[in-house]
Amino acid sequence: MTDGATNDGQRFDRLPSTADDREVVGRATRSEVIEWWVDRFGLPADTFEGYTFWEKGAGKIWIFAGDVPSPTDVEGLGMTFLRTRQEHWKPTTNAVQRFGREATRNVLVLDPDEAVRFLAGEDLEPAWDGDWGYLIVAHEIAGGVEPIGVGLYVHDELRSVIPKGRRASLAPPE
């Protein structure tokens, strides 16, 4: 480990594979990131095989289907995936929509009316006796359960953390 190495918020650095390869203090490792997703949501262990993981901006983790030499100075590399700056890691809405369909744990399935309100950004009090923290919030559509986004469940309340740009007001289903 190199003493004093810090994150450079202007470029993308590939995550170290494991803690032994870590050079920037506090940077999440590839195995920690995959383990968090697989453990928290019960995803198949091979879900993220072939993807590379990158940090740009402290604690902001990106997932990229390809690979390029690290570091790289570009504007975007794949998709924002996970925020690791706070004690509780937070998946992004877009990552949950992209990878959350296979989730088997910590998935809260809303009824149709609740789903519309959640998408609009409303906080809800749905029936849930599972873990607190960040959940995949989903609903049934076209013959399957589909993730809508991320909700924060605390004190018997589900807070919608769908970013403003992804919220929408839909007419309630008839």
Binding site: E75, R98, I148, A168
Partner: protein, 308 residues
Amino acid sequence: MTPLERYESLVDDVEAFRAACDRPLPSVVRVNTIKATVERVREALDEEGITYDPADWHPGVLRLPEDSPGRNWPHAHGWIHGQEEVSNLPALVLDPQPGDRVWDACAAPGSKTTQLAALMEDSGVLVGNDNNLGRLSALRHNAERLGVTNLVVTNQDARNFSLKPLGEGQEGGVNAFDAALVDAPCSCEGTIRKNPDAFDTWSLDHVHSVAGVQKGILRRAIQATRPGGTVVYSTCTFAPEENEAVLDHVLDAEPCRIVDFDAPLDGVPGVTEWEGEEYDPSVEKALRIYPHHNDTGGFFCAKLEVAE
């Protein structure tokens, strides 16, 4: 003279051309196969009671005669993306394969870029570049909503695009692309049905200055693509200065040729002369689409192959 009158001598049916240009365009969405199948999208639209009409030339292109594309569940899930019917063409002509390394030189706001990602099955490396930093946020927003993970976003002048940030010359870096799309900035007369103010900023000086930019971008795309690779050039203008003349210039300047392609939409061949200028005969392999041909916007598309 309006910009459209300038092109009437090129058009096969002037009355139909004028009439089509005056009609507004319907809302059209493309099914995003990264996140959903065509069947599931249709089922979801049925559940919401939203009327749709699949384009006869592509099952993943749906016209929504009564709905705006942004207020329904399939949109919220990133299963569909509002994209004009004719603008689905260039990515299909480029036909990138999974695992390819592909450059979209003028990518923002990203409709064609995200379509390329879907055709690549969200694998390989897709580089979406735009010189306008403000427009890159729209590109990134659309790509993330549609679940694209194979996209590298860059902010360069495409005319002297550098592969250095992609690790050119390093192990695992990108030294050349397998394919490139140049969907060039243009004078946009073909979008008049969508943007009624498209003519407000039109001028012949602008046509000539943007043609210079187009030549520079297409030349760089040929240079950055491997021998045997494919480059598609497209615009939404009718101006031969921005279409056939650009191809003619690049044929002289770079080792490449124009090739035939099977077009799923009706159109007419490129023109070989305009206002006293003569172009290479192979520009006839390009496709001009006028609004009355398929009841879409106007479009121009050519497929080039880089010499081995």
